[in-house]
C-alpha cells in the first residue's frame, strides 16, 4: 500500500497550486481521508467548532480589532512625528524613522499587515515627498512590519502557543529581542541605500519641539506599556490585554483625538471581523486537516522520514529552515503552523529543543514569508498604499529580505537571543 500521507499532502498542495482557497485546500483532503479510512467523518462539525471555540484564541480577534482601531485613530502619526525630530534629519533618516515606527507600532498591533498599513500610510508619502524612490519606501515599510509578528503582542504566537501548549506570555517575551534584531538588520541596507542615493530627511527639532512632539504622541507612547505592562505585571492574560487594548484605542480615538465617529466604528468592526474570519476559518479546517493526519499516523511517519535524512541536529535545522522559507513563500503563517507543526513536534522531543525558541525561529521564518512573493501580504498592502506595482516593490525588497535572513540565522544558532528575556523576567 502506498503511504496515505503522501496522498493527503499531495492533494493539499495540488489544490493549493490550482488556486483553491486555502481553507478548502486543507478541508477537502481532510474530509476525503476521514471518509475513505472510516475515521469518523461525523465528528467534522464538532471538530471544526472546537478548533475555533478555544478561549486563548480569543486574543486573535481582539488584537486584530485593536490594530485596526489604533491605526484608524491615527496613533501612528504622533509616533512618527516624534521619531522624525529625533533621527529624521540625518542622511537616510526617514528610512530609520520608518523602521523605528514599524518596530514601535509592533508593540501595539498584533499582525504585520496592520503595521504596514499604520506606518505605511504616514511614512510612504512622506518619504516620496523627500525624494525617496516609492518602491524603496514601500518595500522598507513592508519589511520592517515583519518585526510586528515577533514583537508582542503577536497573533502568530497565540496560534503557536495554542497548538503546542506553550505559554503565550513566554512566547511574547521571547519575541522581543529577535524582533529588535530584525529591525537593526534592516537599518543597515536601508541607510546604506538611502545614503548612496543621497536621500535625506527633515530638519532637526529643537528640544522644545521634541518635548512637544513627545507630549502629542503620549497616547501612542503609553499604549505598549498598557498592553505589555498588563501582561507582565501579572494583571492580564494575553486575551484580556487584547480586550483592554481595544478599549484603550476606542477611548483615545473617540474621546481624546475625536478622530473616530460611529460610522468609522462600524467600518472598523466590520473590517476586523472579516480579517478575523479569514484567519479563523483556516484555523478551523487546518485543525481538521492536522487531526486527520495525526489519526492516520502520517505526521509521526513524516517526522521519522525527516530524521532518516540525518541524525545531526544542525543539518536537520538547516533543512527545516529551508522547508519553512519555501512554505512561507506559498502559505500564510497560521496554515503552516497547523499543517507542519504536527510533523515537527516529534523532532523537538527527539533533539530536546526548547519549544519557545523553536516557535520564535519558526515565526521569524514565516514573518520573512510575508515579504517574499508570490504570497506576500505585507508587500501587497504596501504596494496598495504606494500605488506602485507589486513587482517594483518586490525588486526593492531583495536587500531587506537578505538582511532579515541574516537575523534569522542568528536566531537559529543562538537560542539565548530568544530565551534570555523570558528567563530574565521569569515568565513561565
Amino acid at each position: 500500500m502506498t503511504e496515505p500521507g503522501l496522498l493527503l499532502f499531495g492533494l493539499f498542495f495540488l489544490l493549493l497550486f490550482l488556486g483553491v482557497p486555502i481553507l478548502t485546500a486543507v478541508g477537502i483532503p481532510a474530509l476525503v481521508f476521514l471518509w475513505t479510512f472510516g475515521l469518523g467523518i461525523q465528528v467534522t462539525a464538532a471538530n471544526v467548532y472546537a478548533n475555533i471555540a478555544k478561549f486563548p484564541l480569543l486574543a486573535i480577534p481582539f488584537f486584530i480589532l485593536a490594530g485596526f482601531v489604533m491605526e484608524r485613530a491615527g496613533l501612528s502619526r504622533g509616533l512618527v512625528n516624534l521619531l522624525n525630530m529625533i533621527v529624521g534629519p540625518v542622511r537616510g533618516g526617514l528610512a530609520l524613522v520608518a523602521v523605528g515606527g514599524c518596530v514601535f507600532f509592533g508593540a501595539i498591533s498584533g499582525t504585520g499587515p496592520a503595521d504596514t498599513a499604520a506606518i505605511g500610510t504616514v511614512m510612504i508619502p512622506a518619504m516620496v515627498r523627500r525624494g525617496y524612490a516609492v518602491g524603496f519606501a514601500a518595500a522598507l515599510v513592508a519589511a520592517a512590519a515583519t518585526t510586528d509578528v515577533l514583537i508582542p503582542p503577536s497573533v502568530a504566537f497565540v496560534v503557536y502557543g495554542v497548538i503546542t501548549e506553550t505559554s503565550v506570555s513566554r512566547l511574547f517575551a521571547a519575541g522581543v529581542v529577535p524582533g529588535l534584531l530584525m529591525g537593526l538588520a534592516l537599518v543597515v541596507p536601508a541607510v546604506a541605500i538611502a545614503r548612496g542615493r543621497g536621500w535625506g530627511g527633515e530638519s532637526w527639532g529643537t528640544p522644545r519641539q521634541i518635548a512637544r512632539a513627545a507630549w502629542d504622541a503620549k497616547w501612542g507612547l503609553i499604549a505598549p506599556a498598557v498592553i505589555l505592562g498588563g501582561i507582565y505585571g501579572g494583571v492580564f492574560t494575553p486575551t484580556e490585554a487584547a480586550v483592554v487594548a481595544v478599549m484603550y484605542g476606542l477611548f483615545v480615538g473617540m474621546v481624546v483625538y475625536r478622530s473616530l465617529g460611529w460610522r468609522d466604528l462600524y467600518a472598523i468592526f466590520l473590517d476586523a471581523a472579516v480579517s478575523t474570519a479569514v484567519v479563523m476559518i483556516v484555523v478551523a479546517f487546518a485543525g481538521l486537516f492536522s487531526w486527520t493526519g495525526s489519526t492516520l499516523g502520517v505526521m509521526d511517519r513524516a517526522a521519522q522520514g525527516l530524521l532518516g535524512l540525518s541524525e545531526n541536529p544542525y543539518v536537520i535545522l538547516l533543512l527545516l529552515n529551508l522547508m519553512l522559507i519555501v512554505a512561507g513563500m506559498l502559505l500564510d503563517a497560521i496554515s503552516v503552523y497547523y499543517v507542519f507543526l504536527p510533523i515537527l513536534l516529534p523532532l523537538l522531543k527527539r533533539f530536546q529543543w526548547d519549544p519557545v525558541w523553536f516557535g520564535v525561529m519558526m515565526t521569524v521564518n514565516l514573518a520573512i514569508g510575508t515579504v517574499t512573493p508570490p504570497v506576500a501580504v505585507n508587500l501587497y498592502v504596501a504596494s496598495n498604499i504606494a500605488r506602485t506595482p507589486i513587482e517594483e516593490v518586490a525588486r526593492w525588497a531583495v536587500p531587506f529580505v537578505l538582511a532579515l535572513a541574516a537575523a534569522l540565522l542568528l536566531v537559529v544558532y543562538v537560542p539565548a537571543l530568544s530565551l534570555w528575556l523570558p528567563d530574565l523576567l521569569g515568565v513561565r
Binding site: F17, P21, L23, F269, A277
Partner: protein, 155 residues
C-alpha cells in the same frame, strides 16, 4: 431590499463582534474589581466567536478575499482560469454542504442526548445551530462570489 440582503451578515458581524468585545471587557473589569471571573461570560464569548467566524467567512467569500495561492492561476490562459474557478467553487460548496450536513447530525445527537453547555447549562445545540444556519449563508455567498469572479473573467 437588495441592499438589505447584501449587507445582512455585515450588520450581524458588527453586532456580534461588538457584543463579544463588551462582554469580554466587562469580564476583565469584574475579575479585576471583585477577583472573581464570571465563567459563563467566557462561554458566551467563545460561542459568539464561532458565529463571527462563519459570518465573516460569508462576507469574505462574496468579496473573494479568502487566502489563496493564485500566482499560477492568474498567469494561466483563460480556459484554465475558468476551470480553476469552477473547481474552487465546486469544492468550497462541497466543503460547506458537508459541514452543514454534519452540523445537523450533531444537533440531532445533542438533542437526543440532551447535552447541555458547561457553564450556563443551556442546550448545547443552541450554540451548534450556528454551523448550519450561517453555513447556508456561506453557501449563498460562495455562489455569489463565483458569479462576480465569472463576470470579471468574462471581460
Amino acid at each position: 431590499m437588495r441592499r438589505v440582503t447584501d449587507r445582512l451578515e455585515e450588520g450581524a458581524c458588527v453586532l456580534v463582534f461588538a457584543v463579544m468585545t463588551l462582554v469580554a471587557f466587562v469580564n476583565v473589569v469584574t475579575r479585576y474589581l471583585i477577583q472573581y471571573s464570571l465563567a459563563f461570560t467566557e462561554e458566551i464569548v467563545v460561542s459568539l466567536f464561532v458565529w463571527l467566524t462563519l459570518l465573516g467567512t460569508a462576507v469574505a467569500f462574496r468579496e473573494g478575499t479568502h487566502l489563496a495561492f493564485t500566482f499560477l492561476v492568474d498567469r494561466a490562459p483563460r480556459p484554465a482560469r475558468w476551470a480553476a474557478l469552477g473547481l474552487s467553487t465546486a469544492l468550497s460548496l462541497a466543503l460547506f454542504l458537508a459541514l452543514i450536513w454534519f452540523g445537523l447530525l450533531q444537533i440531532q445527537n445533542e438533542r437526543l442526548l440532551g447535552t447541555t453547555s458547561e457553564a450556563l447549562a443551556i442546550p448545547q445545540w443552541w450554540y451548534t445551530a450556528g454551523i448550519p444556519v450561517v453555513g447556508v449563508l456561506v453557501v449563498a455567498r460562495i455562489l455569489q462570489g463565483a458569479w462576480r469572479a465569472a463576470r470579471r473573467l468574462d471581460r
